[in-house]
Symmetry: C2
Subunit: 234 residues, 2 copies
Amino acid sequence: MSGPAGGDASKADLVHRQLKEEIELGELAPGTPLSELWLVERTGASRTPVREALRRLAAEGLVDLVPRQGARVSRVSLQSVRDLFDFRTLLEPAAMRQATEAAAADPELRRLFTAMRNEFARTVRRVPSQARSRAFYELADRFDWAIIGATRNEHLRRTIAELRPHTARLRNLSHVDPQRVEVSVAEHLRMCDALLAGDADGAAAAIADHLEQSLATIFRNLARGPGEGLDLLG
Amino acid sequence: MSGPAGGDASKADLVHRQLKEEIELGELAPGTPLSELWLVERTGASRTPVREALRRLAAEGLVDLVPRQGARVSRVSLQSVRDLFDFRTLLEPAAMRQATEAAAADPELRRLFTAMRNEFARTVRRVPSQARSRAFYELADRFDWAIIGATRNEHLRRTIAELRPHTARLRNLSHVDPQRVEVSVAEHLRMCDALLAGDADGAAAAIADHLEQSLATIFRNLARGPGEGLDLLG
DNA sequence: TGTATACAAGTTGTATACAGTATCGGCAGC
DNA sequence: GCTGCCGATACTGTATACAACTTGTATACA
């Protein structure tokens, strides 16, 4: 799944993870050239593991690889954002359905989601608005991973997991809208409630709605300020 | 897309393509150990491109990679077959909808699918039943690629393309049922008709039905004869 | 006889040297 | 002043050598 768990750690793994994180956080802006030698200097590993990391990132779509020219951090276009969210809207409601069924059959899982539901509620009530968005996104991340973990179908699970860095990067490249956080908390509460009620259709609808609102917000923000490293060609 | 088109051809590409084909055809049975040195002897390339090919195959799920032990051709379980078809049933109707819309807007594409529709019809009428299944599968392959090519969403397109080798392998590992071919031709005709009529819902339903029938056939055949390299543990 | 340990073979992980190719600069010619 | 050629440079693609680890076996010992 490559997500929160950290395995043994070959150098290729380490370089991969480090680059992935930096791309996700926007520290490596879209279009940044990633020469193998530069990465060798930067990471201390030799070319072989660096190469492997780059190939993996390319397979995940985080890096564009041109055969005899080199690698660059993949660019983000309006079209790619649309494609990403359309695809997520296809996959994630299905995952939500599976998670709902899994929770209905597993008290342990229900406890987990109940706890998260309470955390979401607490976030909006108790956390000062300064730190609120950070706390919220950290929590939303854990929620996403919980859904992924509760997804039975392996292909679905892996594919959704692979999309997450793209979404995260988008969030980090565009400016966060504090107002959006309030609404997003409400959307997450609705997802939790439907899931805990065993209402698969409701949960699916809730996440579809959430995705639609997220996309709308991103587009609004892009229209306002161009953002750090976004190509608006698409 | 890595499918029918063949690019420049680095050694890593060649090894990757060759192994992929052999796994697809079942010449390399599930569970076969793939030592890097063995592949070096076999392919004439050095370890570096062989390694890269193995990593790529692992990312595609065709090879299982255990960190310090080696690679094996990935095994096929009942559960993995179910997962595969469930996932395809999620993705391919959506692709079919996009292809239908694309065809409605593009006369060139309509001509292509009209031609294919006729070929399907001809297959059942004119081709002697000896060679019929081979001809059919070759045609069905081209149909699949045409759908993939007409799919607008890049994530959807790539994901579906990546699943194809798994399906093909399954077909080649289990015994082909000649009766199934007749029915499958009819299903493809129905898909073509709906697509050409601009009936996205109908096309989506047709492919969903096709997938359901395919899965049922595979399960029937597996119940009958255990097949060549299938684990029935799942 | 059963268990633990040391050894040996084979494998992957990593580093590095070499070869081929694309890019960018300057320079001659028009 | 502009275009086209050509060499230098830097990069990737490939091969190979070395290191670290895992597994299976044989042997010593309780």
